[in-house]
Amino acid sequence: MPSMNMIQSLNNALDVMMARDPDILVFGEDVGYFGGVFRVTDKLQERHGLHRCFDAPISEGGIVSTAIGMGAEGLRPVIEIQFADYILPAYDQLVSEAARLRYRSGGDFTAPITVRSPYGGGIFGGQTHSQSPEAIFAHITGLKTVIPSTPYDAKGLLIASIECNDPVIFLEPKRLYNGPFDGHHDQALKAWKDHPDAQVPEGHYTVPLGQAAVVRQGADATVLAYGTMVHVARAGIEEAGIDAELIDLRSIVPLDIETITNSVRKTGRCLIVHEASRFAGFGGELSALITERCFYSLKAPTQRVAGWDTPYPHAFEWDYFPGPSRVVEALQKLMED
């Protein structure tokens, strides 16, 4: 089985699906001849034709709205928004149209579109190339939101998203494109090569939406994370030397509530880790759900480690980024309580 980094596995997922289904087309800024600023669509135009992978005007609203129209007609557009920070001009199209079309038309029209976008920090991208917008999608009834953390999951989840008949926001942790990143920015870069989760089958397979992965078994605490933070959390758990269970949510809508509550009922303690700023972030929902469903199993208050409540500051990337040391501190506090 070939080893792929996350860029290659995403590219391979698109390639496999475009070969299988002529109704699938790919468009977005710079995705055509050039193959995308992160190369995720590399060679797709050459392999599948000009009209199946092409450049779009710099108009995120236009990209999403035309994709919705194509989806209503029966195609399955997979569009790229160059950075998740730039999804916002299309927010109204995603919320008022893509998310609501099936409901308001009684199923007469649907929007089976997949919106791919690199998100998150750790790449010195400054305020507008680093943000994590998952919370503003999770709140929207009718949207699904998926976030992989490995090359294997990235391909399987992307194929599942493309095959899904609901609109899917597919957020790609750009810091993980080329290698697993545990938050130790001062250490040598790791590549995906030789990583077990980088062994990716060539063909078609799916990782179902709504199924979290228990990536580390543990008895004393539960840690919930997704995207880049899965790797940071793992490092933090090992450095804290605590027998914590680490759950990679993989999709936040649909959310795998069962895996979460089973684990917390078992461990009695929970830490939530995300990169997005803390206040009204998705961690709030997770904490509330745990209170509502596991209150009597809780030995300590559920903790959150997240980005600070400031914009993403370029020069202070590693002061802002919730790294392993903050996970360690939070775990220690969680165990003391």
Binding site: S65, I68, G69, G74, Q93, R102, G142, L255
Partner: protein, 417 residues
Amino acid sequence: MGKEVHNFMTSRRNITLHIPQPSARPGDQVDFSDIELPPAGDTPRPAIDASEAVLRELPFGMIRTLADDHDACGDWRPEASNGDFVAALKVMLLNRAFDDRMFTAQRQGKTSFFMKTTGEEALSAAPSLALRPDDMCFPTYRMVGWLLARGYPIRDLAHQIFNNACDPLQGRQLPILYSSKAHGFYSLSGNVGSRIGHAVGWAMAKAYRGDDSIAIGFIGEGTTAEGDYHEALTFASVYKAPVILCVTNNQWAISSFSGIAGGNETTFAAQALGYGIPGLRVDGNDTLAVWAAIEWAAKRARAGYGATLIEFFTYRAEGHSTSDDPTKYRPKDAAAAWPLGDPVDRLKDHLIKGGDWDEDRHAKAVEEAAATVKEAIKQAEGVGVLGASKPSVKEMFEHVFEEPDWRILEQRGEIGI
């Protein structure tokens, strides 16, 4: 528009923020003197493959076929026959009968909300009949005529308006925000403008498939200020999408006159020049001109020459909706003074002049329309009006996703259904 610019410049001594004003407010004399109307037959009809440079004057004329003597003239006379126009007239009469009855129903509390189409009937009837069954319309909320022209059951319109147990949209939508794929009528939403890009995407999909069916999208002149509109035009132009984009310039956006959308500075059709596509400006109360413009743009789209922008110049004769009172912001008698007249009267006079219609047949058609509407609404009232009957509450939880997730299932459980 020249007039307005001039006023502005002379009136303006020292600098201040310019706020456009309509020509008349309540209490003032109605004044449409700044509207320049070329005579019928005046504006030439270019070839569908005419190059961009040839089309630059088009947006500043006005496509009109019905002259004051009621004859059709000029090279924009449509290919369709008077038989087609009789069909259109009947749809327009049905539309009017439906509007009147439903407006009353709202006043009687049978529904929460309604919007009339009065004065704009030609803009739904003609395109719906001129285009193919496999073409898709992305409408505004003032286009029930499209559905009527394609035989959508009036009873079902009423079911939705009453949100009763037979509501085809299961009670999820406001009255009048219809949806019917089978009738080529795309799902409406309360947001204005946000579907215009879907029309372009749909058209791109048809081209992608090598299918020669097309899309037509409508937007109000007020809503052309939304970014969505520009984005739709940009994609339509870049990819030569087989789409017809139509601006219904009925002069008003709730209480704001067209100058607040830029209508004092140039025509809405002139927007086409920024995208290198044809911009037709059409007398929207002249059913033959509307039909001809659609014929031309559709032929062009199907032949692969891309998108056309059409401004339909018309007037919103009634209030914005049942929640609106237009006498608060414009003179009472404005609609009656509209220089382009009434689309039903003008079509009727033309058909009579041509011998394809007469006063008796017209009177009978008006009666028939009223009777048909009355009967259909009676059936719907039988099922129930607003509050008296509604779909199963289960429907609240359906179609959020293809399959409900645990949240929806739990919440259904919480109210025990």
